[in-house]
Symmetry: none
Subunit: 198 residues, 4 copies
Amino acid sequence: MARPLSTEAREKILSTAGEILLDTGVSGFTVDEVVRRSGVAKTTIYRHFDTSAQLIVHALDSIVAPFPTPNTGSLRGDLGAYCEITSQITCDARLRLLMLELLAAAAQNPELAKTKRAMFAERMGPVRTIIQLAMARGEISADVDADFATELAEAPFLAHLMIHGLDAPTEAQLDKMIEFVVAGLTGMGSDAAPAPAH
Amino acid sequence: MARPLSTEAREKILSTAGEILLDTGVSGFTVDEVVRRSGVAKTTIYRHFDTSAQLIVHALDSIVAPFPTPNTGSLRGDLGAYCEITSQITCDARLRLLMLELLAAAAQNPELAKTKRAMFAERMGPVRTIIQLAMARGEISADVDADFATELAEAPFLAHLMIHGLDAPTEAQLDKMIEFVVAGLTGMGSDAAPAPAH
Amino acid sequence: MARPLSTEAREKILSTAGEILLDTGVSGFTVDEVVRRSGVAKTTIYRHFDTSAQLIVHALDSIVAPFPTPNTGSLRGDLGAYCEITSQITCDARLRLLMLELLAAAAQNPELAKTKRAMFAERMGPVRTIIQLAMARGEISADVDADFATELAEAPFLAHLMIHGLDAPTEAQLDKMIEFVVAGLTGMGSDAAPAPAH
Amino acid sequence: MARPLSTEAREKILSTAGEILLDTGVSGFTVDEVVRRSGVAKTTIYRHFDTSAQLIVHALDSIVAPFPTPNTGSLRGDLGAYCEITSQITCDARLRLLMLELLAAAAQNPELAKTKRAMFAERMGPVRTIIQLAMARGEISADVDADFATELAEAPFLAHLMIHGLDAPTEAQLDKMIEFVVAGLTGMGSDAAPAPAH
DNA sequence: TGTTAAGCGAGACGGTACGTCGCGTCTTAAT
DNA sequence: ATTAAGACGCGACGTACCGTCTCGCTTAACA
């Protein structure tokens, strides 16, 4: 006798929400605006999503896509390849903005925190594999914690986002970052001076 | 000839605003709340600050304080010392939140962007000096750009903020980060190096 | 299809507004005070009434009530009877004030002008009938314009309102006014000069 | 030892206030607007006039001018002449508005009430003389109270103001009003009932 | 002929009301 | 029972005017 929540409505809501998020960022996001643009009733939106934050979460979730993991045979090669793979995402000013806003919002909202974690996991999974491969190859000391190393590997790219905001790094800067990361990771753990990068 | 804007009111506004920012973050900041807590009239607030954003800017500005620059004779020592100096700031969850929110807001508001830049400048100035000392000592290659190296040196700490939000890094993690940074910076620039990555 | 404007809210708004109008007059009328007294949200008030003036209009409209038309067989008798019928209204200081304020406001606001006209129509309709009956009886010349005569018949009462403000006329004064009106109206139109007064 | 309030400032204030009153009426009158237009400081205004109402009062007072009293030898002639004398004032829509607003305001503010009374006195003084002359001539019964008769004589003109607002009466209407007043006043007081009109 | 207290312009101050926007909840009719 | 539509209470927004206050500067009356 009942009637299920229509997927049609849900999708219209999510795509409109995503659109708005890209247009105006989280700060400009408004349930009323979703209503206006999508023609879906506010009641319906709140029936599908308890909270406007949850709607944002789901809209963001549908934006995230998994990345393939490169395997070039060297840490440096893999990191360079991965940079190129993700560059479409990491250089889009709108996505950079969303990421920054998400970071701030996640610090106050547990649901968004979960989404943030998922996004990082998606993005950092391949990096972790890259690290583990490098450890298997001996490029990185086995003493190093893989998860922590993954964070370190991402650090320069994330820091650039924080410091320079919407302006993506240049090719040259990316190269330097990779050089730094490779030097840093290969130089860690072994008390002896950094092993020659082979 | 006219009556000057009262410094008393201004200070009451700013201190109250700062208080609220620490309590609730930028997202919970409200001019009306400033009115309630400070007893200053809304009109007066808008007489002093054109925009609520400007008020936030000035409130944040008055929170920033300069840090001393350590000089222990080694890159590793200096970074460690600086970490300890700044740890009061960098470990306060409220300030971590403010920083994250500021990053997001700065991406959309030029005035806040200026404040953000000032904050980074304050924080990163000593690091830059540390880097330059290390370059003078020969620990870091003279080929490396000092500004860029400064950003790289901060990267792990900033990245931790992004990834872990309000949870500050542990002592052990800080040690590892410093180790990573030292290895990374000292390993850069020497041409004896990595095979071309692309 | 949508939810209709609730009559409950509308009535609460209107009765509260009327109450305030009687308490403080138009000049002391405030939407915020309606909010406070009625518990209805300001947004809701503005949903029902575009303008505070419109709200006043409707509140006043709901105060107006039609008067019965007397028929005693003589102009003098009818006017006297009508005076007594309307005395509750015309002697209430609060309503006298409202009327004065309405007159001033109507001169500047077309909507209030409409309400003013309606109020006068309500009040003067029976007088017009009284005049027409007198004309049919031959008490008043058929040459006289009934509408204009109606205005003349009301003139002393209205003038008293203007000159004496909130102080209503005494019984004796009302009698004299009626005497004046009867003499004036019956003496008009017939070219034969008024009978010598002594 | 002190310095007297400057008449220059006072006059600038009053003339500007009068200007504004004619432009926008009492309801649009604002002390801040006087400041803007006159260049006189708000402090100075409040030094000269305790209250914005008092300022309005004095501005209106300086608008009022005495009228000459006609003497044509007959009540009808005098009233007609007086009508013409005052028509410049009584037909100016801006002054009609001011009068209506003054009536409303006077009902709530004792100071404005005083001004209103003064205005009526100025305007009705000559009418009273006209009435007294007519009583001396025997046109009006000596039994009638002169003050009350004066009010009755003005009634149609005042009533027209109330009913028709800013639209002044036409010549023809004025004639009829005078006819009505003459008939009314001459028909009063003689116990001999008014002669049947047919 | 100074001195000096007041007047003066300018405009900041604490208030109150304005009319608007977004929130998340609710009610209604129609499918 | 879900939907579109939109009314509801709430609270923040930024503005206008109120009448009071604090500023320096200027000026007229007194010594």
